[in-house]
């Protein structure tokens, strides 16, 4: 265990577990766009955590005006609703705030799954080679042949519609890019001198993988994970928009579906359907900026 409090003349302060984990992520802190992306994420995370206190209303509650009429299609500011209300009399602002929760949960979970599966498949295929490699790469070929959005739709519709199933469906297809890249990276690592040396000196495969391969792979996993966040959030929005989303949770995709189905377009209720899209753009571009930052670290050649 690292002892961060230990102070001695010879001891360089051992970084704590959290700091080591942080360092392992190689966050691209040198790039202004990436920093902007990280800041946007932090803001969304704060909003998501404190959603109950930030939101002015329960996002699903049907609201009434002071003269006991349904608070339907109120414009921003009317009756004190900051961003207006929906046709069903729900508070748009509160829905936006709560929507950040499902967006983050979906995005981060899908990214985690994609990175995890992709990394495991890539490392195993690349390190062990042979028939394992053949099988896994054929699986990746198949995954490339599956139309992503239709697959998620069918799976979300046939299993019960929930955030978890959407995440599962996405992970089942999206690991393919990560897997291929990590496999080829593992292939080059496997033939490095120090890996050879470890193998000759009798280290077990598991030990070599954990010691020498995975630490070098991790930034790539994060890169592909950060790309997957955006994909996942956009996909979830599409799925919810088509009506296959989790009926229990308020998401921006759901808001857009609600607006579309309630004729918000012909009513010109821009205050209703513009903000969810803008928030999606914000969080997805934040992901892009972070992944571009990663790319600049990983492939300095691309920095121009």
């Amino acid at each position: 265990m690292a002892d961060a409090t230990q102070t001695g003349p010879a001891s360089v302060a051992q970084p704590g577990l959290l700091r080591r984990a942080f360092a392992a992520m190689h966050l691209p802190l040198g790039d202004p766009f990436a920093i902007a992306g990280i800041v946007i994420y932090l803001v969304f995370i704060v909003v998501a955590i404190f959603a109950p206190s930030i939101a002015t209303h329960d996002p699903t509650e049907i609201l009434f005006t002071s003269d006991f009429m349904l608070a339907a299609d109120l414009r921003p500011g009317e009756e004190g609703y900051i961003m207006g209300t929906t046709t069903l009399g729900r508070d748009v602002f509160s829905q936006l705030v709560w929507g950040s929760r499902s967006a983050l949960i979906i995005g981060l979970m899908a990214a985690f799954m994609v990175a995890l599966i992709g990394t495991i498949v890539g490392v195993v295929a690349g390190y062990f080679g042979g028939w394992l490699d053949t099988i896994m790469m054929r699986l990746a070929d198949i995954a490339f042949g599956i139309p992503f959005l239709p697959f998620v739709i069918v799976l979300a519709a046939f299993l019960e519609p929930s955030i978890w199933n959407v995440v599962l469906a996405m992970a089942l297809v999206l690991w393919r890019d990560t897997g291929r890249v990590i496999r080829s990276q593992t292939l080059t690592l496997r033939n490095r001198v120090y890996v050879e040396a470890a193998r000759v000196s009798g280290s077990s495969d598991l030990k070599i993988i954990l010691r020498h391969i995975v630490p070098n792979i991790l930034p790539l996993s994060f890169l592909y994970g950060s790309i997957a966040i955006g994909w996942a959030i956009l996909t979830e929005a599409s799925i919810s928009f088509l009506g296959f989303g989790d009926p229990e949770s308020i998401s921006w995709g759901y808001m857009l579906q609600d607006a579309f189905a309630s004729q918000a377009l012909s009513k010109g209720a821009y205050y209703w359907f513009v903000p969810p899209g803008v928030l999606i753009i914000l969080i997805v571009s934040a992901g892009f900026f972070i992944s571009r930052g990663y790319e600049k670290i990983l492939f300095p050649k691309l920095d121009r």
């Binding site: 198949i142 046939f158 997805v284 892009f288």
Partner: protein, 325 residues
Amino acid sequence: MGTATAIGARLAQTLFVLWAVVTILFFLFRLMPGSPLAAYIDPNFTPEQQEALLARFGLDQPLWKQYFIYLGNLLQGDLGESFFYRTPVAERVFELLPNTLILTFSSLILAYIFGVLAGAYLAWKRGGAVEQIAIPLVLTTRAMPEFWLGMLLLAVFSFSFGWFPAGGTRPPCMEFESTIALYTSSAFWWHMTLPVLTLAIYSQGLPLLLMRSNMLDVMREDFVTMARIKGLSPFTVVIRHAARNALLPVMTSFAIAVGYQIQGNVVVETIFSWPGLGRELVRAVSAADYPLAQGAFLMIAVVVILMNLVADLLYAALDPRVTRG
């Protein structure tokens, strides 16, 4: 490896993936909760009638037998019968495929023409103020949900200004003698404008960014410098040498983009009530019309897989270093 062997191996891989996707599809649709015929069976049916129905769709057979029947039927172009329309799925799917393809190709061609030109231009004007604005803007279009962009365009150009129709392929009152007559009518293209624009705006980022970064690479190549030393005009240097080389991977990406686009069409077709494969898939899944959903899914998958193949072959065909190696 000879070119012929490589192409042969690639074709074999394509067939394998096709088979695998077909198989996954078969079992995927068996995941559906409840009886697959639930939507089809009238509650007033007698048990005998229900069994007769099951037999008609081959659902009384054991699973493995169903699978082989399904494979056999597929090979004969039989995709089953739609529960909802009570007509062959293949017929319906092939009726919708052109609508989807027209939408996909028109929007992508538009996106690629714009993206390639703008990308080449941005590479040429590298480091300028245009770049500072253009690149984040392009990234933003990539971060946009396509259907939301469609909603915006609808709200502004259809509902507010009334310049474009809100959906479908033709005005409700208009009838056309044939599909050809429909496709060549101005009304059709009028209806197509907004969905094509939506998809094109979303798609132009890929060719643009790809073209730009390829151009930046190629502009540093010796042969571009040599072209300048030869006293060729700046136009010849940039277009005939730099752009021509940078274009190779962009062309290849077109095929891949078709594959991506056609699956993403699902939402945009739904927004614009465009009678295509994607919208049909959504409707069929919602209505538990699984033969139709399966057929639409399969069709989309076939396009994706074929486009992956085309991308590889195109790359080989366009790059003399691969073909004439």
